[in-house]
Symmetry: C2
Subunit: 473 residues, 2 copies
């Protein structure tokens, strides 16, 4: 991690102020849609400053909490004790390691629980199904209160699923499918209803988009979500912009949450500043509200006591930490959570993919040829520089993006294990590994495109109509 070269000379408070200013700068650059390299450079400096801050104070930088003590920590100069160079919030995921974010450290920092073998075994027992490979392979790796959900199922009590998507463009990439693929599996094995929130209001607030455009993205993205195979009788997809004006329960819960969260709290959790618009500041309540069954009176017959389970990427956890904090104070149940790792960009696991960079991932609209070219050209390889070296020393699956993608999309455990062994030993060459991934993704994407083609406006409307869903309560 780069050192800005000035940390040692600054007091903790000066460092705190520099981190804070640099954070603002990053936000402004993002808001202004500055060139990617400019943003990356600013983020790098931000992370470096945070490391300096931690070295100087022994504590993680927390927005809104200046250092208690303005004398440098006695460990000053020593390297940060751990995950100081990972940064995760709903808008930024950044790590200095080609292996990606250190998720074990993230669990400790976020205070969630690891999905361990016991939990996976119990899920298999309760559902009578083999665990999804996302569970077996640690792609969904962290949880909150999942045992409580399983207790409920064993006691024949109902629960429902809630996940979502911020529709920032028409084009979704394969990484965006991860929560939906897993949620579909959960819906099937538990036979429960699902609500999918499309936060078009959030995208309007954060991006240079009109309300109309954000809603249009909702409709287009909904088609890709529906194409994952959700059961229309058990699934409700909603646009915030639309549902807020149709539901007798949603706004009331938004206001309930808004009454119980202060600006100080969202400042600490999300890093908002005084220059942020009041829409952003109050938005977290809108992402919180679907965690409560009374937000959907049409679906749950007005019942307030149905527990919610949220499968999502770990970067969304801050919203739900806040939600879980508020829930008991408004007499609601805390939602349970299942957290996934991030899907790596083709260029490597250091960053989350970006829908605005067409080469950073495989898009659901890519042709077979585009898939082939992108993987051959852009997929970061863990192989050696020459065939001879590769045969001799073998490749590194831990940083190889093609191998990582296969852990997501190749369901056959034995085949995957063999690929790992062969690549590590050098028996499998990088070109051959890329070919396996290409041949895995091409039919998968083209099947998705075929299913999506048949999703008419009428079908979208069905999914998006508030109505009673089919399930046993």
């Amino acid at each position: 991690m780069a050192d800005p070269g000035s940390g040692g000379a600054l007091s903790p408070l000066e460092l705190y102020n520099r981190v804070s200013e640099q954070g603002d700068k990053v936000r402004v650059l993002k808001m202004e849609k500055a060139p990617k390299d400019e943003i990356d450079a600013a983020v790098k400096l931000l992370l470096a400053l945070k490391v300096d801050y931690k070295n100087a104070t022994g504590e993680d930088y927390k927005p809104g909490s200046p250092p208690n003590n303005d004398t440098p920590n006695s460990n000053n100069g020593l390297p940060a004790a751990g995950d100081g160079d990972d940064f995760v919030d709903p808008w930024t995921v950044q790590t200095g390691s080609a292996k990606g974010v250190n998720y074990d450290k993230l669990i400790v920092r976020f205070g969630s629980s690891k999905i361990d073998k016991d939990l996976i075994d119990r899920i298999e027992r309760v559902t009578g199904n083999k665990a999804h490979h996302f569970l077996r392979r640690g792609i969904f790796f962290s949880h909150r209160d999942m045992h409580q959900i399983l207790d409920a199922v064993e006691n024949k009590k109902p629960f429902y699923l809630y996940t979502g998507r911020g529709p920032s463009s028409e084009a979704m990439h394969v990484g965006h499918l991860i929560p939906f693929i897993f949620t579909k599996w959960l819906q099937e094995v538990f036979n429960v209803p699902l609500v999918v929130q499309m936060t078009d209001d959030e995208k309007y607030l954060w991006k240079d988009l009109t309300i109309e455009k954000a809603y249009q993205y909702t409709i287009e993205n909904a088609k890709d979500i529906i194409a994952c195979g959700f059961d229309v009788n058990k699934t409700f997809i909603f646009s915030d912009l639309e549902y807020m004006g149709t539901s007798s329960g949603f706004y009331k819960n938004v206001v309930r949450v808004q009454k119980h969260v202060t600006f100080n709290q969202v400042k600490g959790i999300f890093g908002f500043t005084d220059s942020d618009c009041i829409g952003k500041i109050s938005f977290p309540a809108i992402q919180a509200a679907p965690s409560f069954s009374s937000s959907f009176p049409e679906i749950f017959n007005g019942r307030k006591d149905i527990q919610c389970l949220i499968p999502c990427a770990i970067d969304q956890d801050p919203y739900f930490r806040m939600t879980r904090d508020v829930a008991p104070r408004i007499s609601y149940l805390k939602p349970a959570l299942l957290h996934s790792t991030f899907f790596p960009a083709l260029q490597g696991a250091q960053t989350k993919m970006s829908a605005s960079d067409p080469n950073s991932s495989i898009f659901l609209t890519d042709t077979a040829k585009q898939i082939k070219n992108k993987i051959n050209k852009h997929a970061f390889s863990g192989g050696k520089d020459t065939i001879e070296e590769h045969r001799k020393y073998g490749g590194n699956c831990e940083v190889d993006v093609c191998y990582m993608y296969l852990t997501f999309f190749l369901e056959d455990d034995e085949k995957l294990e063999k690929i790992k062994q062969d690549y590590t030993s050098g028996a499998l060459l990088t070109g051959e590994l890329k070919k396996i991934l290409i041949e895995t993704l091409q039919p998968m994407i083209s099947a998705h495109q075929e299913r999506r083609k048949h999703i008419t406006e009428e079908v979208v409307k069905q999914f998006m109509t508030p109505r009673k869903l089919a399930f046993d309560f």
Copy 2:
């Protein structure tokens, strides 16, 4: 105005911090519903500190804007140049003068325009009606862009009226009727549609109320509003809590406003702090949204270009200054405004009335006997201590609450003028003046109660159903 006795010794920044702290203290006391005298004392100290601050810096205290220069003003110690002891925002109206707030100074401070004889003459010409006595007597005394509304009328362009009420209890007092009495007159003489916002969400956020209770107050207050005689074919009354979940246009405009107002701005305008809940912080956008015709697609056939005129008490102006600032940035028309003075409490014009203090005003539920007793017992008198002195020196109409009330409710100009002359000369005694007010209010209130009795839930529902209103566009 009391002097806290320490102003001279403190620097501007120290004074700024003391005002800020005392402001927080007042807010906390109000939130905790502390005893009235405790709140009053805290408010008095706040006002005194503000005067000290102005003396020290030459500028009004502005939340969020510490003094630029921390050396005391050269005028230090001189009395404040004018309205330093009036304090007006949507939650607090306080003045040191028994004559009430200095409204001429308020016009200068708020940057609005005085309603002068020219404007009143023009309203009479355009409507073909004699001006309402609230206009003739300066009860509606200030405006923004009223000439623009009259231009529109002359050019056969449509406009609509918007006013509102925060339903904080079932009991409304006569002061609450002022905007509605005047709005009804405007509706009649201009023949235009009217929307009435019941900010039950605001009351839930600010007070110790449930959502259900706030909505119940909306319904009860709506009955009193309807009893003012509004035409059901031209009037839409709505609860925020309900309408937000029924309208396809309202939330979209709320989000539009929320995107264009920062926390810094609402901090400056409303004095919010980091400890305020995010609901309060984003609420101003909800009071802004009805200023735009596209918030009511059902009423205005989706038209976005219909100008709005807002009659309201001047303490609501901060919301609409903000709204007028945002409007052009979201391609909407700025609303025009007509501002009224405050209705004085029975105890004197120093404070706004309080729905929570039954003796501070005449309530719409009071019996004839209660009206008589309250006026005889609590109405602050401008008369002299003994009959002899009163006959000799005369009474002071400028501070006499009975006389003030008559300016609101006695429509006969000649009779009012005669009362003024007789009381000032001493010919009319305080007991006699009180009797005139009692005999004016008793039939007015009982007629209101009679009309209210006939307002069924069905009628309320009619007024509160989103629908096309009858008017010519």
